[in-house]
Protein backbone atom coordinates (compact mmCIF):
# COMPACT_ATOMS: atom_id res chain seq x y z
CA UNK A 1 0.00 0.00 0.00
CA UNK A 2 1.39 3.38 -1.01
CA UNK A 3 1.08 6.39 1.27
CA UNK A 4 -0.96 9.31 -0.06
CA UNK A 5 0.86 12.59 -0.59
CA UNK A 6 -0.16 16.14 -1.41
CA UNK A 7 1.80 19.18 -2.49
CA UNK A 8 1.01 22.56 -1.02
CA UNK A 9 2.30 25.42 -3.16
CA UNK A 10 2.19 24.93 -6.95
CA UNK A 11 5.24 27.07 -7.81
CA UNK A 12 8.50 25.90 -9.40
CA UNK A 13 9.39 23.74 -6.41
CA UNK A 14 5.90 22.26 -6.17
CA UNK A 15 5.87 21.38 -9.86
CA UNK A 16 9.34 19.84 -9.73
CA UNK A 17 8.25 17.78 -6.70
CA UNK A 18 5.21 16.59 -8.64
CA UNK A 19 7.36 15.44 -11.56
CA UNK A 20 9.72 13.56 -9.25
CA UNK A 21 6.97 11.84 -7.29
CA UNK A 22 5.17 10.80 -10.46
CA UNK A 23 8.40 9.51 -12.00
CA UNK A 24 9.40 7.42 -8.99
CA UNK A 25 5.96 6.02 -8.15
CA UNK A 26 6.87 5.29 -4.52
CA UNK A 27 4.13 7.59 -3.26
CA UNK A 28 0.57 8.09 -4.38
CA UNK A 29 0.31 11.79 -5.27
CA UNK A 30 -3.33 12.65 -4.79
CA UNK A 31 -3.52 16.43 -4.61
CA UNK A 32 -1.88 19.70 -5.57
CA UNK A 33 -3.07 22.66 -3.52
CA UNK A 34 -2.74 26.36 -4.25
CA UNK A 35 -4.72 29.54 -3.81
CA UNK A 36 -4.53 31.10 -7.26
CA UNK A 37 -6.92 29.54 -9.80
CA UNK A 38 -4.74 30.78 -12.67
CA UNK A 39 -1.66 28.99 -11.30
CA UNK A 40 0.39 27.21 -13.95
CA UNK A 41 1.28 24.49 -11.44
CA UNK A 42 -2.36 23.66 -10.75
CA UNK A 43 -3.00 23.45 -14.47
CA UNK A 44 -0.08 21.05 -14.95
CA UNK A 45 -1.30 18.91 -12.05
CA UNK A 46 -4.84 18.76 -13.42
CA UNK A 47 -3.47 17.73 -16.82
CA UNK A 48 -1.81 14.79 -15.12
CA UNK A 49 -5.02 13.69 -13.48
CA UNK A 50 -4.11 14.95 -10.04
CA UNK A 51 -6.90 16.49 -8.01
CA UNK A 52 -6.41 20.21 -7.45
CA UNK A 53 -7.75 22.70 -4.95
CA UNK A 54 -7.54 26.48 -4.67
CA UNK A 55 -8.39 26.31 -0.97
CA UNK A 56 -4.74 25.80 0.03
CA UNK A 57 -4.25 23.89 3.28
CA UNK A 58 -8.02 23.68 3.85
CA UNK A 59 -8.49 21.83 0.58
CA UNK A 60 -5.99 19.25 1.74
CA UNK A 61 -7.57 18.88 5.18
CA UNK A 62 -11.03 18.52 3.63
CA UNK A 63 -9.78 15.86 1.25
CA UNK A 64 -8.78 13.75 4.26
CA UNK A 65 -6.88 10.49 4.21
CA UNK A 66 -3.60 12.19 3.24
CA UNK A 67 -0.44 10.92 4.92
CA UNK A 68 2.27 13.30 3.74
CA UNK A 69 2.22 16.98 2.74
CA UNK A 70 5.11 18.71 1.01
CA UNK A 71 4.89 22.39 1.90
CA UNK A 72 6.47 24.53 -0.81
CA UNK A 73 4.77 27.81 0.10
CA UNK A 74 6.62 30.27 2.29
CA UNK A 75 7.95 30.52 5.82
CA UNK A 76 5.05 32.54 7.18
CA UNK A 77 2.48 30.28 5.53
CA UNK A 78 4.14 27.15 6.84
CA UNK A 79 4.09 28.49 10.38
CA UNK A 80 0.28 28.54 10.02
CA UNK A 81 0.09 25.18 8.22
CA UNK A 82 2.29 23.26 10.66
CA UNK A 83 -0.13 23.02 13.63
CA UNK A 84 -3.04 22.16 11.33
CA UNK A 85 -1.07 19.34 9.70
CA UNK A 86 0.06 18.08 13.08
CA UNK A 87 -3.49 18.01 14.38
CA UNK A 88 -4.58 16.07 11.32
CA UNK A 89 -1.79 13.55 11.87
CA UNK A 90 -0.12 14.39 8.57
CA UNK A 91 3.65 14.14 8.17
CA UNK A 92 4.97 17.50 6.95
CA UNK A 93 8.00 17.92 4.72
CA UNK A 94 8.73 21.63 4.97
CA UNK A 95 10.61 23.16 2.03
CA UNK A 96 10.28 26.70 3.39
CA UNK A 97 12.75 28.34 5.77
CA UNK A 98 10.18 28.18 8.61
CA UNK A 99 12.07 25.39 10.39
CA UNK A 100 9.20 24.29 12.65
CA UNK A 101 10.61 20.79 12.74
CA UNK A 102 14.23 19.58 12.82
CA UNK A 103 16.54 20.17 9.86
CA UNK A 104 17.02 17.11 7.73
CA UNK A 105 19.74 16.40 5.17
CA UNK A 106 19.13 12.80 4.03
CA UNK A 107 22.78 11.83 3.59
CA UNK A 108 23.61 13.05 7.09
CA UNK A 109 20.65 12.75 9.41
CA UNK A 110 17.76 10.94 7.81
CA UNK A 111 14.99 11.44 10.34
CA UNK A 112 13.65 8.04 11.38
CA UNK A 113 12.30 8.91 14.81
CA UNK A 114 8.59 8.08 14.67
CA UNK A 115 7.80 10.98 17.03
CA UNK A 116 8.91 13.50 14.43
CA UNK A 117 5.97 14.69 12.34
CA UNK A 118 7.55 17.71 10.65
CA UNK A 119 10.96 17.97 9.03
CA UNK A 120 12.61 21.03 7.51
CA UNK A 121 14.68 20.86 4.34
CA UNK A 122 17.04 23.72 5.29
CA UNK A 123 17.96 25.44 1.98
CA UNK A 124 19.36 24.32 -1.35
CA UNK A 125 22.77 25.56 -0.27
CA UNK A 126 22.45 23.62 2.97
CA UNK A 127 21.48 20.40 1.18
CA UNK A 128 24.52 20.80 -1.07
CA UNK A 129 27.15 21.72 1.51
CA UNK A 130 26.16 20.16 4.84
CA UNK A 131 27.08 16.63 3.67
CA UNK A 132 30.60 17.88 2.88
CA UNK A 133 31.01 19.57 6.25
CA UNK A 134 29.59 16.54 8.07
CA UNK A 135 32.01 14.22 6.24
CA UNK A 136 35.01 16.38 7.09
CA UNK A 137 33.78 16.80 10.67
CA UNK A 138 33.53 13.02 11.07
CA UNK A 139 37.32 12.84 10.58
CA UNK A 140 38.58 16.19 11.86
CA UNK A 141 36.32 18.41 13.99
CA UNK A 142 35.41 21.52 12.02
CA UNK A 143 35.99 24.67 14.07
CA UNK A 144 34.53 26.93 11.37
CA UNK A 145 32.71 26.16 8.15
CA UNK A 146 32.06 28.71 5.44
CA UNK A 147 30.13 28.04 2.28
CA UNK A 148 29.54 30.11 -0.82
CA UNK A 149 26.61 29.09 -3.01
CA UNK A 150 26.46 30.54 -6.51
CA UNK A 151 23.24 30.00 -8.37
CA UNK A 152 21.92 31.25 -11.68
CA UNK A 153 19.59 34.23 -11.42
CA UNK A 154 17.00 32.35 -13.45
CA UNK A 155 16.70 29.61 -10.88
CA UNK A 156 16.27 31.92 -7.88
CA UNK A 157 12.56 32.47 -7.44
CA UNK A 158 10.86 35.38 -5.74
CA UNK A 159 10.80 33.51 -2.42
CA UNK A 160 14.59 33.34 -2.31
CA UNK A 161 15.01 36.88 -3.59
CA UNK A 162 12.69 38.56 -1.13
CA UNK A 163 14.11 36.65 1.82
CA UNK A 164 17.76 36.32 1.01
CA UNK A 165 18.77 36.77 4.66
CA UNK A 166 16.77 33.68 5.53
CA UNK A 167 18.90 31.70 3.14
CA UNK A 168 22.19 32.74 4.72
CA UNK A 169 20.93 32.51 8.30
CA UNK A 170 19.19 29.14 7.93
CA UNK A 171 22.09 27.62 6.03
CA UNK A 172 24.60 28.80 8.63
CA UNK A 173 22.47 27.47 11.49
CA UNK A 174 22.14 24.05 9.86
CA UNK A 175 25.87 23.87 9.03
CA UNK A 176 26.31 23.91 12.79
CA UNK A 177 23.34 21.77 13.85
CA UNK A 178 23.54 19.09 11.17
CA UNK A 179 27.00 19.59 9.69
CA UNK A 180 28.62 19.61 13.11
CA UNK A 181 30.76 22.73 12.65
CA UNK A 182 31.41 24.79 15.78
CA UNK A 183 30.37 27.94 13.94
CA UNK A 184 29.55 28.76 10.35
CA UNK A 185 28.87 31.39 7.74
CA UNK A 186 26.95 31.15 4.48
CA UNK A 187 27.11 33.44 1.45
CA UNK A 188 24.84 33.36 -1.60
CA UNK A 189 25.59 34.91 -4.99
CA UNK A 190 23.19 35.23 -7.90
CA UNK A 191 24.76 35.23 -11.35
CA UNK A 192 22.69 36.28 -14.39
CA UNK A 193 25.05 34.88 -17.04
CA UNK A 194 23.56 33.21 -20.12
CA UNK A 195 23.52 30.31 -20.61
CA UNK A 196 22.74 29.92 -16.90
CA UNK A 197 25.47 28.39 -14.80
CA UNK A 198 25.01 25.29 -12.71
CA UNK A 199 24.67 25.59 -8.96
CA UNK A 200 28.16 25.73 -7.51
CA UNK A 201 29.12 25.58 -3.85
CA UNK A 202 32.51 26.23 -2.36
CA UNK A 203 33.13 24.86 1.13
CA UNK A 204 35.92 26.00 3.43
CA UNK A 205 36.49 24.00 6.62
CA UNK A 206 38.88 25.07 9.35
CA UNK A 207 40.13 21.77 10.79
CA UNK A 208 43.14 19.57 11.46
CA UNK A 209 44.50 19.28 7.93
CA UNK A 210 47.03 16.59 8.88
CA UNK A 211 44.16 14.13 8.45
CA UNK A 212 43.71 15.13 4.84
CA UNK A 213 43.90 11.61 3.37
CA UNK A 214 41.16 10.35 5.67
CA UNK A 215 39.12 13.47 4.96
CA UNK A 216 39.25 12.81 1.22
CA UNK A 217 38.04 9.24 1.74
CA UNK A 218 35.15 10.36 3.93
CA UNK A 219 34.25 13.02 1.39
CA UNK A 220 34.20 10.60 -1.51
CA UNK A 221 31.96 8.23 0.41
CA UNK A 222 29.62 11.10 1.26
CA UNK A 223 29.41 12.32 -2.32
CA UNK A 224 28.41 8.79 -3.37
CA UNK A 225 25.72 8.80 -0.66
CA UNK A 226 24.24 12.09 -1.87
CA UNK A 227 24.37 10.85 -5.46
CA UNK A 228 21.91 8.11 -4.52
CA UNK A 229 19.16 10.71 -4.38
CA UNK A 230 20.75 13.54 -6.42
CA UNK A 231 22.58 11.90 -9.33
CA UNK A 232 23.90 15.23 -10.61
CA UNK A 233 25.83 16.00 -7.41
CA UNK A 234 29.60 15.91 -7.89
CA UNK A 235 32.90 17.39 -6.75
CA UNK A 236 33.80 20.37 -8.92
CA UNK A 237 37.11 21.16 -7.24
CA UNK A 238 39.01 18.22 -5.73
CA UNK A 239 39.64 18.88 -2.04
CA UNK A 240 42.92 20.58 -1.23
CA UNK A 241 44.61 22.05 1.80
CA UNK A 242 45.09 25.81 2.01
CA UNK A 243 46.69 26.80 5.28
CA UNK A 244 44.46 25.58 8.11
CA UNK A 245 41.57 24.96 5.75
CA UNK A 246 40.34 22.11 3.64
CA UNK A 247 38.74 23.61 0.55
CA UNK A 248 36.52 21.92 -2.00
CA UNK A 249 33.62 22.75 -4.30
CA UNK A 250 30.60 20.78 -5.41
CA UNK A 251 28.40 21.34 -8.41
CA UNK A 252 24.80 20.21 -8.73
CA UNK A 253 23.38 19.39 -12.12
CA UNK A 254 19.61 19.09 -11.95
CA UNK A 255 17.70 16.11 -13.32
CA UNK A 256 15.74 18.48 -15.58
CA UNK A 257 12.39 17.12 -14.37
CA UNK A 258 10.57 20.42 -14.58
CA UNK A 259 13.21 23.11 -14.43
CA UNK A 260 16.23 22.92 -16.73
CA UNK A 261 19.41 21.15 -15.68
CA UNK A 262 21.07 24.35 -14.45
CA UNK A 263 18.52 24.50 -11.63
CA UNK A 264 20.44 22.02 -9.51
CA UNK A 265 19.68 24.23 -6.55
CA UNK A 266 15.99 23.37 -6.76
CA UNK A 267 16.64 19.78 -7.74
CA UNK A 268 18.73 19.05 -4.67
CA UNK A 269 16.09 20.25 -2.24
CA UNK A 270 13.14 18.57 -4.00
CA UNK A 271 15.14 15.34 -4.34
CA UNK A 272 16.00 15.44 -0.65
CA UNK A 273 12.36 16.06 0.24
CA UNK A 274 11.14 13.13 -1.83
CA UNK A 275 13.85 10.93 -0.34
CA UNK A 276 12.70 11.79 3.19
CA UNK A 277 9.05 11.20 2.37
CA UNK A 278 9.84 7.82 0.83
CA UNK A 279 11.88 6.87 3.84
CA UNK A 280 9.00 7.85 6.11
CA UNK A 281 6.62 5.82 3.96
CA UNK A 282 8.91 2.80 4.07
CA UNK A 283 9.13 3.01 7.87
CA UNK A 284 5.39 3.35 8.25
CA UNK A 285 4.37 0.73 5.77
CA UNK A 286 7.01 -1.51 7.29
CA UNK A 287 5.19 -1.18 10.61
CA UNK A 288 7.52 1.23 12.36
CA UNK A 289 4.59 3.37 13.38
Amino acid sequence: MKLKAAILGPGNIGIDLMMKILKRQELDLVMMAGVDPTSHGLKLAAERGIKITTEGIHGILQEGNIDIVFDATGARAHAMHAPLLKEAGIFAVDLTPAAVGPYCVPAVNMVTDSDVDNVNMVTCGGQATIPVVAAINSVAPVAYAEIVATISSKSAGPGTRQNIDEFTETTAAALVKVGGAKCAKAIIILNPAEPPLMMRNTIYCLCDTSKFDEIVKALEAMVAKVQQYVPGYHLKVQPYVDGDYVVTAVEVEGAGDYLPKYSGNLDIITSAAVSIAENYAACRVGGAK
Partner: protein, 332 residues
Protein backbone atom coordinates in the same frame (compact mmCIF):
# COMPACT_ATOMS: atom_id res chain seq x y z
CA UNK B 1 27.90 77.57 -7.39
CA UNK B 2 27.40 74.02 -8.68
CA UNK B 3 27.55 71.49 -5.86
CA UNK B 4 28.84 67.94 -5.73
CA UNK B 5 28.73 65.69 -2.69
CA UNK B 6 31.90 63.67 -2.18
CA UNK B 7 31.68 60.29 -0.46
CA UNK B 8 34.93 58.91 0.91
CA UNK B 9 35.44 55.14 0.79
CA UNK B 10 39.14 54.93 1.69
CA UNK B 11 38.18 52.95 4.77
CA UNK B 12 35.93 50.49 2.90
CA UNK B 13 36.99 50.07 -0.74
CA UNK B 14 40.53 50.94 0.35
CA UNK B 15 40.42 47.90 2.64
CA UNK B 16 40.72 45.66 -0.44
CA UNK B 17 44.17 47.12 -1.13
CA UNK B 18 45.41 46.22 2.35
CA UNK B 19 43.69 42.81 2.52
CA UNK B 20 41.22 44.32 5.04
CA UNK B 21 43.96 44.88 7.62
CA UNK B 22 43.36 48.44 8.82
CA UNK B 23 42.91 48.45 12.57
CA UNK B 24 39.99 50.19 14.24
CA UNK B 25 42.45 52.68 15.69
CA UNK B 26 43.86 53.51 12.25
CA UNK B 27 40.35 53.86 10.83
CA UNK B 28 39.29 56.18 13.62
CA UNK B 29 42.36 58.39 13.16
CA UNK B 30 41.83 58.64 9.39
CA UNK B 31 38.09 59.20 9.74
CA UNK B 32 38.68 62.01 12.21
CA UNK B 33 40.97 63.79 9.77
CA UNK B 34 38.56 63.25 6.85
CA UNK B 35 35.86 64.83 9.00
CA UNK B 36 38.14 67.81 9.66
CA UNK B 37 38.83 68.07 5.91
CA UNK B 38 35.12 68.56 5.31
CA UNK B 39 34.17 65.11 4.00
CA UNK B 40 30.54 64.60 4.98
CA UNK B 41 30.10 60.86 4.37
CA UNK B 42 32.74 58.29 5.26
CA UNK B 43 32.21 54.66 4.34
CA UNK B 44 33.99 52.14 6.55
CA UNK B 45 34.37 48.41 7.13
CA UNK B 46 35.62 45.26 5.47
CA UNK B 47 35.84 45.75 1.70
CA UNK B 48 32.82 43.55 0.99
CA UNK B 49 30.72 45.41 3.52
CA UNK B 50 29.18 44.37 6.78
CA UNK B 51 29.41 40.63 7.30
CA UNK B 52 32.08 40.51 4.59
CA UNK B 53 34.86 39.36 6.89
CA UNK B 54 35.26 35.77 5.73
CA UNK B 55 37.55 33.10 4.37
CA UNK B 56 36.13 33.83 0.91
CA UNK B 57 36.96 37.54 0.85
CA UNK B 58 39.52 37.84 3.62
CA UNK B 59 39.12 38.22 7.34
CA UNK B 60 39.36 41.82 8.48
CA UNK B 61 41.82 42.76 11.19
CA UNK B 62 38.93 43.53 13.54
CA UNK B 63 35.21 42.94 13.84
CA UNK B 64 32.61 45.13 12.15
CA UNK B 65 31.53 46.32 15.56
CA UNK B 66 35.06 47.34 16.56
CA UNK B 67 35.31 49.53 13.44
CA UNK B 68 31.84 51.01 13.95
CA UNK B 69 32.55 51.83 17.56
CA UNK B 70 35.94 53.42 16.95
CA UNK B 71 34.88 55.52 13.95
CA UNK B 72 31.54 56.65 15.39
CA UNK B 73 33.37 58.05 18.40
CA UNK B 74 35.96 59.85 16.27
CA UNK B 75 33.49 61.85 14.16
CA UNK B 76 32.00 65.21 15.03
CA UNK B 77 30.38 66.56 11.85
CA UNK B 78 30.65 63.74 9.32
CA UNK B 79 28.33 60.74 9.20
CA UNK B 80 29.66 57.25 8.69
CA UNK B 81 28.30 54.88 6.13
CA UNK B 82 28.08 51.10 5.89
CA UNK B 83 27.98 48.92 2.78
CA UNK B 84 25.55 46.00 2.83
CA UNK B 85 25.60 43.39 0.06
CA UNK B 86 22.53 41.15 0.47
CA UNK B 87 23.66 37.53 0.31
CA UNK B 88 26.77 38.45 2.32
CA UNK B 89 25.47 40.79 5.03
CA UNK B 90 22.04 40.68 6.64
CA UNK B 91 19.56 42.94 8.39
CA UNK B 92 20.82 41.49 11.68
CA UNK B 93 24.30 42.79 10.79
CA UNK B 94 22.80 46.17 9.92
CA UNK B 95 21.18 46.39 13.36
CA UNK B 96 24.68 46.42 14.87
CA UNK B 97 25.56 49.39 12.66
CA UNK B 98 22.41 51.18 13.82
CA UNK B 99 23.55 50.84 17.44
CA UNK B 100 26.53 52.98 16.50
CA UNK B 101 24.48 55.64 14.73
CA UNK B 102 25.28 54.76 11.16
CA UNK B 103 24.13 57.69 9.00
CA UNK B 104 23.90 56.05 5.61
CA UNK B 105 23.71 52.50 4.36
CA UNK B 106 24.55 51.55 0.82
CA UNK B 107 22.66 48.44 -0.22
CA UNK B 108 24.57 46.89 -3.10
CA UNK B 109 23.54 44.26 -5.63
CA UNK B 110 24.78 43.07 -8.99
CA UNK B 111 23.34 45.42 -11.61
CA UNK B 112 20.64 42.99 -12.72
CA UNK B 113 19.63 41.67 -9.28
CA UNK B 114 18.30 44.70 -7.44
CA UNK B 115 15.16 42.92 -6.24
CA UNK B 116 17.20 41.16 -3.55
CA UNK B 117 17.69 44.57 -1.91
CA UNK B 118 14.02 45.31 -1.25
CA UNK B 119 13.93 43.93 2.29
CA UNK B 120 17.12 45.71 3.31
CA UNK B 121 16.25 49.07 1.77
CA UNK B 122 12.83 49.07 3.39
CA UNK B 123 14.24 48.08 6.76
CA UNK B 124 16.87 50.83 6.65
CA UNK B 125 14.29 53.44 5.62
CA UNK B 126 12.08 52.43 8.53
CA UNK B 127 15.07 52.80 10.81
CA UNK B 128 15.23 56.40 9.61
CA UNK B 129 18.64 56.45 7.95
CA UNK B 130 19.72 57.55 4.49
CA UNK B 131 19.73 54.69 2.00
CA UNK B 132 21.76 54.48 -1.17
CA UNK B 133 20.99 51.77 -3.73
CA UNK B 134 24.27 50.66 -5.28
CA UNK B 135 24.21 48.91 -8.66
CA UNK B 136 27.50 47.07 -8.98
CA UNK B 137 29.18 46.00 -12.22
CA UNK B 138 27.03 48.44 -14.19
CA UNK B 139 29.12 47.87 -17.32
CA UNK B 140 27.60 44.37 -17.62
CA UNK B 141 24.08 45.60 -18.36
CA UNK B 142 22.53 47.67 -21.12
CA UNK B 143 21.47 51.25 -20.45
CA UNK B 144 17.81 50.11 -20.42
CA UNK B 145 18.53 47.40 -17.86
CA UNK B 146 20.46 49.81 -15.64
CA UNK B 147 17.55 52.26 -15.74
CA UNK B 148 15.02 49.52 -14.95
CA UNK B 149 17.04 48.37 -11.95
CA UNK B 150 17.66 51.90 -10.70
CA UNK B 151 13.91 52.48 -10.83
CA UNK B 152 13.34 49.36 -8.74
CA UNK B 153 15.75 50.51 -6.05
CA UNK B 154 14.10 53.93 -5.97
CA UNK B 155 10.69 52.25 -5.72
CA UNK B 156 11.84 50.36 -2.59
CA UNK B 157 12.64 53.73 -1.01
CA UNK B 158 16.31 54.35 -1.82
CA UNK B 159 17.10 58.06 -1.36
CA UNK B 160 19.91 57.91 -3.90
CA UNK B 161 20.89 55.40 -6.57
CA UNK B 162 24.48 54.77 -7.58
CA UNK B 163 25.78 53.54 -10.90
CA UNK B 164 28.91 51.65 -9.94
CA UNK B 165 31.80 50.75 -12.21
CA UNK B 166 33.12 47.96 -9.98
CA UNK B 167 35.41 46.65 -12.68
CA UNK B 168 36.76 50.02 -13.80
CA UNK B 169 35.72 48.84 -17.25
CA UNK B 170 33.62 51.72 -18.53
CA UNK B 171 34.58 54.53 -20.85
CA UNK B 172 33.24 58.09 -20.39
CA UNK B 173 30.49 57.68 -23.01
CA UNK B 174 29.22 54.52 -21.34
CA UNK B 175 29.14 56.30 -18.00
CA UNK B 176 27.31 59.29 -19.44
CA UNK B 177 24.69 57.15 -21.14
CA UNK B 178 23.86 55.27 -17.94
CA UNK B 179 23.86 58.30 -15.67
CA UNK B 180 21.84 60.58 -17.93
CA UNK B 181 19.16 57.98 -18.65
CA UNK B 182 18.85 57.04 -14.97
CA UNK B 183 18.70 60.73 -14.08
CA UNK B 184 15.88 61.25 -16.54
CA UNK B 185 13.93 58.19 -15.41
CA UNK B 186 13.92 58.64 -11.64
CA UNK B 187 13.52 61.52 -9.24
CA UNK B 188 16.20 60.65 -6.71
CA UNK B 189 19.79 61.90 -6.99
CA UNK B 190 22.22 59.69 -8.93
CA UNK B 191 25.72 58.82 -7.76
CA UNK B 192 28.78 57.35 -9.44
CA UNK B 193 31.59 55.15 -8.12
CA UNK B 194 34.65 54.74 -10.32
CA UNK B 195 37.63 52.40 -10.51
CA UNK B 196 40.86 53.26 -12.24
CA UNK B 197 41.78 50.05 -14.04
CA UNK B 198 41.71 51.78 -17.42
CA UNK B 199 43.11 55.03 -16.07
CA UNK B 200 39.71 56.68 -16.38
CA UNK B 201 38.53 57.07 -12.79
CA UNK B 202 38.72 60.87 -12.62
CA UNK B 203 37.63 61.29 -16.24
CA UNK B 204 34.66 59.00 -15.79
CA UNK B 205 33.72 60.77 -12.59
CA UNK B 206 33.70 64.11 -14.42
CA UNK B 207 31.64 62.54 -17.21
CA UNK B 208 29.18 61.32 -14.59
CA UNK B 209 28.89 64.78 -13.03
CA UNK B 210 28.36 66.36 -16.45
CA UNK B 211 25.63 63.81 -17.12
CA UNK B 212 23.86 64.71 -13.90
CA UNK B 213 25.42 62.75 -11.04
CA UNK B 214 25.36 64.75 -7.84
CA UNK B 215 27.32 62.39 -5.59
CA UNK B 216 30.63 60.77 -6.43
CA UNK B 217 33.04 58.48 -4.60
CA UNK B 218 36.74 58.72 -4.05
CA UNK B 219 39.51 57.47 -1.81
CA UNK B 220 42.62 59.14 -0.51
CA UNK B 221 45.60 58.02 -2.61
CA UNK B 222 43.04 56.23 -4.79
CA UNK B 223 43.29 53.29 -2.40
CA UNK B 224 40.88 50.54 -3.45
CA UNK B 225 40.19 47.28 -5.21
CA UNK B 226 41.97 46.68 -8.52
CA UNK B 227 43.77 49.85 -9.58
CA UNK B 228 41.86 51.71 -6.90
CA UNK B 229 39.20 54.40 -7.04
CA UNK B 230 39.05 58.06 -8.02
CA UNK B 231 41.85 59.64 -6.03
CA UNK B 232 39.87 61.89 -3.70
CA UNK B 233 42.41 64.67 -3.20
CA UNK B 234 42.89 64.89 -6.97
CA UNK B 235 39.17 64.83 -7.61
CA UNK B 236 38.58 67.57 -5.03
CA UNK B 237 41.26 69.73 -6.66
CA UNK B 238 39.90 69.16 -10.16
CA UNK B 239 36.34 69.93 -9.08
CA UNK B 240 37.58 73.08 -7.38
CA UNK B 241 39.25 74.19 -10.62
CA UNK B 242 36.06 73.50 -12.51
CA UNK B 243 34.10 75.66 -10.11
CA UNK B 244 32.25 72.98 -8.15
CA UNK B 245 31.55 73.41 -4.47
CA UNK B 246 32.38 70.22 -2.52
CA UNK B 247 32.98 71.60 0.95
CA UNK B 248 36.17 69.55 1.06
CA UNK B 249 39.65 71.00 1.60
CA UNK B 250 41.88 69.11 -0.81
CA UNK B 251 45.01 70.39 0.89
CA UNK B 252 43.97 68.63 4.07
CA UNK B 253 43.25 65.48 2.07
CA UNK B 254 46.80 65.59 0.69
CA UNK B 255 48.10 65.78 4.25
CA UNK B 256 46.02 62.76 5.26
CA UNK B 257 47.51 60.87 2.32
CA UNK B 258 51.05 61.74 3.24
CA UNK B 259 50.82 61.42 6.99
CA UNK B 260 48.33 58.61 7.53
CA UNK B 261 47.82 56.59 4.36
CA UNK B 262 51.26 56.38 2.70
CA UNK B 263 52.88 54.76 5.75
CA UNK B 264 50.32 51.95 5.95
CA UNK B 265 49.83 51.11 2.27
CA UNK B 266 50.93 47.60 1.33
CA UNK B 267 52.03 48.58 -2.18
CA UNK B 268 51.84 51.62 -4.43
CA UNK B 269 48.33 52.13 -5.84
CA UNK B 270 49.14 51.87 -9.53
CA UNK B 271 47.53 50.39 -12.62
CA UNK B 272 49.44 47.13 -12.42
CA UNK B 273 49.30 44.63 -15.26
CA UNK B 274 46.73 42.61 -13.35
CA UNK B 275 44.59 45.67 -12.65
CA UNK B 276 44.65 46.59 -16.32
CA UNK B 277 43.54 43.04 -17.13
CA UNK B 278 40.60 43.54 -14.77
CA UNK B 279 39.51 46.75 -16.46
CA UNK B 280 39.96 45.30 -19.92
CA UNK B 281 38.08 42.09 -19.08
CA UNK B 282 35.40 43.73 -16.99
CA UNK B 283 36.17 41.56 -13.95
CA UNK B 284 35.41 42.52 -10.36
CA UNK B 285 38.11 44.72 -8.85
CA UNK B 286 38.62 42.76 -5.67
CA UNK B 287 39.58 39.64 -7.63
CA UNK B 288 43.06 41.17 -8.00
CA UNK B 289 44.89 39.88 -4.94
CA UNK B 290 42.98 36.57 -4.97
CA UNK B 291 44.01 36.00 -8.59
CA UNK B 292 47.64 36.72 -7.76
CA UNK B 293 47.59 34.19 -4.94
CA UNK B 294 45.96 31.53 -7.13
CA UNK B 295 48.37 32.33 -9.98
CA UNK B 296 51.31 31.63 -7.72
CA UNK B 297 49.79 28.47 -6.30
CA UNK B 298 48.88 26.93 -9.65
CA UNK B 299 51.73 28.35 -11.74
CA UNK B 300 49.66 30.44 -14.15
CA UNK B 301 49.52 34.13 -15.14
CA UNK B 302 47.16 36.22 -12.99
CA UNK B 303 46.17 38.22 -16.07
CA UNK B 304 44.99 35.05 -17.78
CA UNK B 305 42.89 34.18 -14.74
CA UNK B 306 41.31 37.64 -14.72
CA UNK B 307 40.57 37.62 -18.45
CA UNK B 308 38.94 34.22 -18.07
CA UNK B 309 36.89 35.47 -15.10
CA UNK B 310 35.59 38.21 -17.39
CA UNK B 311 34.80 35.68 -20.13
CA UNK B 312 32.87 33.52 -17.68
CA UNK B 313 30.83 36.57 -16.68
CA UNK B 314 31.72 36.24 -13.02
CA UNK B 315 29.92 38.76 -10.84
CA UNK B 316 31.10 40.52 -7.70
CA UNK B 317 31.79 38.15 -4.84
CA UNK B 318 32.72 35.10 -6.93
CA UNK B 319 36.28 34.99 -5.61
CA UNK B 320 35.95 31.22 -5.20
CA UNK B 321 35.65 30.75 -8.96
CA UNK B 322 39.24 31.98 -9.30
CA UNK B 323 40.51 28.60 -8.08
CA UNK B 324 38.46 26.72 -10.72
CA UNK B 325 39.82 29.00 -13.40
CA UNK B 326 43.41 28.69 -12.17
CA UNK B 327 43.16 24.89 -12.09
CA UNK B 328 41.66 24.80 -15.59
CA UNK B 329 44.36 27.12 -16.94
CA UNK B 330 47.12 25.08 -15.31
CA UNK B 331 45.91 22.00 -17.22
CA UNK B 332 46.08 23.70 -20.62
Amino acid sequence: MKQVRLVDTTLRDGMHAVSHQFTAEQMAAIAKRLDEAGVGTIEIGQGDGIGGSSRQYGFAAESDEAYFKAVSRALTRAKWCALLIPGIGTIEDLKVALEYNVGTVRVATHVTESDVSEQHIKFAKQAGIEVIGFLMMSHMASVEKVVEQAKLMASYGADIVYITDSAGAMTPDQVKARISCAKEAIDVPIGFHAHNNLGLAIGNTLAAIEAGASLVDGTVRGLGAGAGNSQLEVLAAVLDKLGYETGVDFYKLMDIGQELIDPIMHRPQIISNDALAIGYAGAYGSFLLHARKAAERFGVDARDILLEMGKRKAVGGQEDLIIDVAIDLSKR
